[in-house]
């Protein structure tokens, strides 16, 4: 039995210290997933907290045949998707969000400007904000976690072919927005 399996078993019996080990082990991946999907730190922190609380609450329903990380990613992804949908309903008309142009390409006066880390992060967040909530999750799991299609499908409760087509469309749409400075970044 691995250390993680021991922690899970102990946590299921109410051992909060064991659950604390799981939080420690997964806090960065879960926070990063939420950050990439939601686009800002405070919301990502709330979402990561909520994901762990839900995991603790529903630990009894976790099937040990599945990878714990997949189960946890699933909880966090669905929470972020719901949050993005609520945000969209509350604040942003769908069309406006999708139609938002990426201005970085033309905003820079010098095409050879070195793209700083901050610029890169802003740029990524702007690009991500043009995707639907589920596509954001799929893209995040693909790029930051190197998850195979099958695992992304499990996390998002989709079929493998649905994941493939979503990723295909999302990546093409994102690529279409890559202009001028993309090449500056490549050089930098």
């Amino acid at each position: 039995m691995t250390e993680e399996e021991l922690w899970i078993e102990a946590a299921r019996e109410g051992d909060k210290t064991a659950f604390g080990h799981l939080v420690e082990a997964y806090q960065n991946p879960i926070y990063n997933l939420a950050f990439r999907m939601l686009g800002n730190g405070p919301e990502a922190e709330d979402a990561a907290q909520e994901a762990f609380i839900r995991a603790y609450r529903y630990l009894d329903s976790y099937d040990p045949q599945r990878a714990f990380s997949t189960w946890l990613f699933s909880i966090a992804s669905h929470y972020c998707i719901d949050r993005l949908r609520r945000r969209r309903i509350n604040w942003l008309p769908l069309k406006e969000e999708i139609a938002e142009p990426i201005r970085l390409a033309s905003a820079s006066p010098n095409p050879e400007t070195v793209v700083t880390e901050r610029d890169r992060e802003d740029w990524i967040q702007e690009l991500m904000s043009t995707l639907s909530p589920t596509d954001r999750a799929a893209v995040t799991l693909h790029y930051w976690y190197d998850c195979p299609y099958k695992e992304i499908a499990e996390v998002l409760d989709l079929t493998v072919s649905a994941v493939k087509s979503r990723l295909y469309r999302a990546r093409r749409a994102l690529a279409e927005q890559m202009e001028g400075e993309a090449y500056a970044l490549q050089e930098g």
């Binding site: 909060k16 806090q27 991946p29 990063n32 762990f52 992060e121 740029w123 990524i124 990546r171 890559m178």
Partner: protein, 178 residues
């Protein structure tokens, strides 16, 4: 090759899933199709942009906050369970003391048989209850003043003791270090 297939091969190549023969096939197509060549450049740039972005680290307080929320949640659950037990206990105590008193009062007012006989007589006798009920406080004071005070004080003492026990238990179970 169609451009659609070229697009699929671009994704496969970027993900490292393309076979050597597919890579050659793609390169040949890119050589002849300027639209796909332009898209390929963009796809590569996107891939590089996303793959170069590091994992963002969680704030150091996240772990402690999760722990604090779990503790609060469990404390709330215990408080609800304790409160519920206290409420049920108090209600049971109240029933134990009040039912005999109430029954005695009804008996003295001549209404108790009505509950046992049934039929028209029952209704008539229940109607007659209105009068005794209005007189009940006086009867209560007259006949049971002393014993009611004792029972009331006793119930109060037991309720206070149960509440004290519950609060002490809650304090003992409260997590430390916050």
């Amino acid at each position: 090759m169609h451009c659609k297939r070229a697009n699929n091969l671009m994704m496969a190549r970027l993900d490292g899933h393309a076979a050597e023969v597919e890579v050659r096939e793609l390169e040949e197509h890119l050589f002849t199709c300027s639209a796909c060549q332009a898209r390929w450049e963009k796809m590569r740039a996107l891939d590089q942009l996303f793959r170069s972005a590091p994992m963002v680290s969680a704030p150091s307080r996240l772990h402690a906050r999760v722990r604090a929320r779990i503790d609060r949640r469990e404390q709330a659950r215990r408080a609800i369970a304790g409160g519920l037990a206290l409420a049920i206990g108090t209600a049971a105590l109240a029933l134990l003391t009040l039912v005999p008193i109430g029954f005695t009062l009804l008996e003295n007012a001549g209404a108790a048989p009505a509950l046992l006989i049934g039929g028209v007589e029952t209704i008539t006798q229940l109607m007659n209850l209105i009068d005794p009920v209005t007189r009940m406080p006086l009867v209560l004071l007259d006949r049971f003043a002393a014993s009611l005070v004792i029972v009331g004080l006793g119930s109060l003492a037991i309720a206070v003791a149960l509440n004290g026990l519950w609060i002490a238990t809650m304090r003992r179970l409260r997590p430390v270090g916050r």
